[in-house]
Symmetry: C2
Subunit: 293 residues, 2 copies
């Protein structure tokens, strides 16, 4: 039984007559091939990546499992080709999710002039140029009563570097809010268990960074990092349910022997922003929390 | 007694009626303030940097010593304000020098539209966009008879990523050449003593990289790394005469709490290019050379 995913925070969403991703109960995610070259290029990337023996195993875990393509009834009702992937939120009841597009530049040097102009405009209007990344969307599970905190797309489109700082704190807080004037900031109660710790987001980003300092196979333009965790499990302090994945590969280019300095620069900027958070909030978990990072 | 420096490889050169830097016998370098805002902004940077107590001592050594400004007779014959700096080639007889402009983007987000358009065009025409850096100029001392290998500016303006690879090898070779069709590549005889070793260029770049992963004080747009060594001393294998400096600060912007991901990305790309060279050329110096890196 196919359905529209509950926890999508960015990208095209399925709706009545609208093409968008679907999931099934077996844990698979069906992404309709995008029009023009994007769909076929994303398939080409997954085919190349899944058969490339130069990708270390500890890096492969950052990518969704790829199950090939399938022509099937789309969310519009018509037959359409889909990329079949692992459903990353499968098994999670109330996942907190954040989607971050990495790189100060979302266009490849060989793209068309029209496409470059369009991307450059958006990169400059958002925080991509200034921060080296932009937050595309997020949802934070607060509790059964209040449900999810999920800023709308209009707000996300206009956020400043200071808003990014706040949202990165909201993501690990039990009182997320975009109101900064109340004097009551987000509590960052889960900063240590989600961002810190041996299996936390920071540790995983540093592993990824090390690979990006060396790999010259792919350049990941307009690709996103997805962070996910389940609050109930995170509160236990294990940190083991924190997931970091790379998604959206419609604009991957050949590395041609050059590292992806654009992705790497943005990743380092994000690492710096996140690493400041557990450091500031050591009081919340005391000595244990400090030792964890 | 002021004179025109012998070993400038990029930037405006002094000439008859032409404004350019001068040096004296006491080891000082006089850089005429550039027109428009650039001159005053470079002075502002040197003033800020020299009094900033948050710059670690081991990082300060990567910057030329600043001695203030002075109104003096310029290379044109007229009085003009100059920035007084340490002459980096003072004490070196036949320095090999390379100037590398770092960053895939040479413009700050807050620059004017006209300036951004001009820089973006040049960044895309050169290797800045693709590699994250571009070689602005170099000279390599071959010997008393042959003198210096110094590709002209027209050639430097049009070089490809493959040319960059070749020039980085030429820089540490006794047979530099831009002819790749002869089948006789550069010997990379000094790769281990200049690029490798505990005081070599790679070790120094890694030290700089570590600082750039953390510092959010300055963003260094259109700034260059200068590499210098004296062949006679480098052949002794000490590597201690290899100098790495940052120069050209007319476009430094406030970091505003954000790391300089643009500089850092380009620096990591350069590090990757250079680190491949001693690794490939281990045969030239044998076991000792390998151990050195």
């Amino acid at each position: 039984m196919l359905k529209i995913p509950d926890h999508q925070v960015a990208g095209h969403a399925a709706g009545i007559g609208k093409l968008g991703p679907l999931i099934d109960e077996s844990g698979r995610f069906y992404k309709p091939l995008q029009s023009d070259k994007r769909g076929s290029e994303e398939v080409a990337f997954y085919e190349s990546f899944s058969s490339n023996t130069n990708i270390p195993e500890h890096i492969r875990k950052f990518f969704p499992t790829y199950y090939g393509t399938k022509i099937m009834k789309a969310s519009t009702g018509a037959d359409h080709p889909h990329i079949v992937l692992q459903d990353l939120t499968s098994g999670s009841v109330n996942p907190s999710v954040m989607d971050i597009k990495i790189g100060s530049r979302t266009w490849a040097p060989e793209a068309s002039e029209a496409y470059i102009a369009k991307c450059l405009k958006k990169d400059r209007e958002t925080t991509s140029t200034s921060l080296g990344f932009r937050l595309s969307g997020l949802q934070v599970y607060i509790g059964d009563e209040l449900g999810f905190y999920k800023p709308d797309r209009d707000y996300m489109r206009k956020i400043s570097p200071d808003d990014v700082k706040l949202l990165l704190r909201n993501f690990v807080s039990s009182n997320p809010s975009t109101e900064t004037e109340t004097g009551q900031g987000p509590d960052c109660g889960l900063a240590h268990s989600v961002y810190g710790g041996p299996n936390g987001i920071l540790a995983q980003l540093l592993e990824l960074k090390k690979w990006f300092e060396d790999q010259t196979i792919y350049h990941f333009y307009a690709c996103s990092l997805l962070f996910m965790f389940d609050k109930g499990l995170a509160s236990d302090g294990a940190g083991s349910n924190v997931v970091v994945k790379l998604i959206d590969f419609a604009h991957v280019a050949d590395g041609n022997g050059i590292i992806d300095h654009n992705f790497l620069g943005g990743l380092c900027s994000l690492i710096k922003f996140i690493s400041d958070i557990p450091a500031e909030t050591k009081d919340y978990t005391g000595t244990n929390g400090q030792a964890e990072l």
